[in-house]
């Protein structure tokens, strides 16, 4: 089971800045372990953000995104009390969704 994300969504004016930390290895598939065996690639491929249930942003990532990824973006028209949900899907098909309230 993956660890929960840390999502902070702060409104300022007519938009909210969303900062997300995800718990993920983001293994490139290019590294070798101590025994010289290649560590298989394991990384988040897709990220989606929803504002009150409506998709507002999608992204595709490669393994070059750092371990325990950070993401920041701004949602227009989001105000305090609105719900921001983030979903990631990795190359093994694992998926995780977490939600935060805009403050």
């Amino acid at each position: 089971m993956s660890d929960p994300m840390r999502i902070r969504a702060q409104s300022a004016g007519d938009k909210a800045t969303v900062r997300v930390l995800m718990s993920h290895e983001m293994e490139t598939g290019l590294r070798k372990d101590g025994a010289g065996k290649v560590i298989p690639a394991w990384f988040i491929q897709e990220v989606a953000a929803q504002l009150n249930g409506k998709t507002v942003m999608t992204a595709q990532w490669g393994p070059a995104v750092s371990k325990n990824p950070f993401l920041q973006f701004s949602v227009k028209g989001a105000k305090a009390g609105d719900k921001i949900a983030i979903t990631w899907t990795d190359n093994k098909g694992d998926k995780r969704t977490d939600e935060a309230t805009v403050s």
Binding site: M57, G62, S66, Q72
Partner: protein, 154 residues
Amino acid sequence: MTTRRQMIFRSAQLGAMLATLGFLPGAAQAQAAYNAAAFEAKNMAELMKAFGASTPTESKDVTITGPDIAENGAVVPIGASTALPGAKRMLLLVEKNPSVLSAVFDVSDAVDANFSTRVKMGQSSNVFAVALMADGKVLYAVKEIKVTLGGCGG
């Protein structure tokens, strides 16, 4: 300082890169499907040879953010943004990584074309923010980031 000649070369190079990645207009694709081929593009030399279709233009309206020096290539904070209307997608590229493409963000009416993340860099490299515009234009900004310690080692 960048000479005009270097600029043309760089544009061509980026065009080839993007063409191979399948992100240039004409190489339309489904929004949601994961573009595995794009993320697998490994060989820059090969990409540079393939002089491609339309030429991306360096634009002051696109911004690449990042540090001048990264203490550790395992985590390099970078961002792509533009205030221009009509940006459909924002791309973050690291020229000298085994795969040049790091991340693609789809812009909607509900979000700013302004995204930040952190990427791995194996060595010092040019980093590109590319904006794919609704009218077919491809605009970019470039910045060199020096890495004191690579982030792709074993």
